[in-house]
Subunit: 165 residues, 6 copies
């Protein structure tokens, strides 16, 4: 197990030096979900335009949120994201909306945080859009699914597979 | 069950009109957690200054994130937050860090989103600080715990009690 | 004709003092349009979800842009907007998308700039979404339509009437 | 006519993947204008320092606005702008201020949106500085004038020529 | 001597609760200076428009910076600033530019940080505009000059008097 | 002595064109200090966690501030900072906290402004955290200590040496 890399010689956090890292293509995929009442899910799903709207707002919020990651997470490097996509899957059995964000970059550090931030802001936006009808919603299971590029090697979370979108 | 309030007459989202609402004192408390390897938790906990640092960075990120809520969540009203506090609890049995944010306001709308955003950004920051040693961490169970003030009445989530901080 | 109010004693701009102004309900409505090829308009309009998407993105961008006005316009006061709504009207005869933003506030200064900013950012977003097919689009006729509240009195632009949305 | 590139497989907007594009020098020039009462134009133009100030504020706002484009326009890529310049021309015959922005970049995507945003924010700032004397001003004719660099080839709008600044 | 108010029960920083404070008119004045080579000062001062420009850019940057204070300083409350003014004084004897910012608010907490931030960002901007000719400039003596409003009483720094602007 | 480079042909400021500059590794180190009452310094220093906290908050604020430089300083280029570190030194003899920021980049322009901004925001944050006990604190002596990389050559301020951190 490696040591923390964000701590400087005074025992305080720093933004680690990545000047020597190569510019490679990096991709990260993250997922999470918002659990809610069946009636809330139904309101999102049915209702014609209204449905589209909740997820459309969540999706735009997630994309814009990914771009703000270095402004939100103190030790996160600024990056020139080259692509962001988000998908939503309504899981009626478990009464939840599943969210996936994939982020792409040609640069010096990975984009895990950007993908996780996109999912988090998307989930918060779903909560905001629906909170007038359901304050008990829960944001669950935000996790990194896969990551490629960079010298630390590829990562694929056990038991996950990519969605067919 | 009420209807969505964020949809305008064209079926699109809007920022709802709260001009007529009263300025009252409003408080919201939200919680969430980051589950991780025991070794990661141990690295956060032991290690003197290093431990303090991960949670100190997460806490400042959460407070700053709460202030950014209207910039992150499209239909969220700008608010003059009058107080923000965050607490962390290391739960060794379940190998996780628990996060609580409480936000206070004298204003026209509730601060649920600000409390949930503080917890989310705090959790993302813990992930960022520790991801070099543990990519499998999960952000779980982000939920509103309580809310008071405003005409929709008080809310206390079943089975929750306030921490003694 | 009054004098400029944004100039200080050194001949430089300042953010004028509104401390003594009353908190009243203020509303501003602004409009503008994006002129384009008929084929571009058709691509926005037909195409099922795709159509909805261009305007949905523009609308969310406009609402978020209105909230950023004091960060964009140097002498603009920060304000707690209490409501923002945007509407779009596809004008096929003149091959353009018309945009309307209405902004509401209980506060010390008017919200004209916020309404004009919402329209401008909405128009820029339509341009961005469609520029791969039509670089010749023009943003036209961004203007204040009406304003109420505050001691300078109400304003209604000649020849304009409110849309029935 | 090409198809929209900002729509993903779920029919929702995405930030398109430009990872494979080359880093080339790209330049975009945009223009627009603010039409106003002759007296307003005269107040901007005469009046010694005061004149300089309105346009100086507009120009700085435009330059700062260009840098914020990816934060304002949801599907706009973050870019490392390498140069931004703005010019103003007082057109007394037509009683308007003409605005030009040119933006330069070494990067993977064009800077049309950044140039158009600079002009738009510059125009909004002129409106803000002068609105106490003239609420009827109109922002007109914001358009892309030219663009070079990138594989889609150069673009020069019909009937436009570069200003001699 | 009072105790720190920004520390919570876990020994970590928090944004202190000001919900119970009254909304009163509050004013703060801060000052600072940029010391430089005589030739640099001369380039700022002479040179017609060029001179005005350095200070005009600094002044706009300072005003916009004051509005960003809660986004820059972690425990700083968001506030609705009602007025911001900046003045510059070229001190040839001591070869420096003196900067003053005064900030006004009707609200619950003082605006000392906003005034100090305006001066700091103004000073950094002067440095940026002149650094091609003088890397040795120093930013000195940033301090609170006076403060009024609020229950902690008025403050006037010893030996200072307000400028006649 | 060179001429200003930030002025365009209309005598107004511009963001200078750096498209042709090479991407090289660039480092800048800046320093400054906050002078205060001995009792204030003692409260920062002793007091266990409380001490750590003031400087921890200042350090995170400084790092986040460095990333915001192009948003704060009008003519500052956006840059992809590759490393930021801050150190603090409590100087009891002179009753002050000394601050150092070092910033690293692989890019087209220097990072002097980012290092100076980190120090400035760090100093403002110390002021904010301690102002309840000491309004007379002064921010002093913010200056560039060293700079390397880029064609203008290296710079080392006379009389300065790097800290052993």
């Amino acid at each position: 197990m490696k040591e923390f890399t964000h701590i400087n010689e005074q025992g305080r956090a720093k933004m680690v030096d990545v000047s020597q890292k190569d510019d490679t293509i990096r991709i990260a995929v993250a997922r999470g979900e918002v659990r809610m009442h069946r009636k809330t899910l139904s309101l999102i799903k049915t209702g014609g335009i209204a449905k589209g709207d909740v997820l459309a707002v969540a999706q735009i919020a997630g994309i814009m949120g990914a771009k703000k990651s270095p402004d939100l997470i103190p030790m996160c490097h600024p990056l020139l994201l080259t692509g962001i996509d988000m998908s939503f899957f309504i899981n009626e059995e478990e009464s939840k909306v599943e969210i996936q964000a994939s982020v792409k970059l040609t640069g010096k550090t990975g984009v895990e945080m950007e993908a996780l931030t996109a999912v988090s802001i998307g989930a918060l936006t779903i909560y905001d859009m629906c909170k007038a009808v359901d304050k008990g919603m829960e944001i669950q299971n935000i996790r990194l699914v896969s990551k490629s590029g960079g010298k630390s090697g590829d990562f694929l979370r056990k038991g996950e597979k990519l969605w067919e979108v």
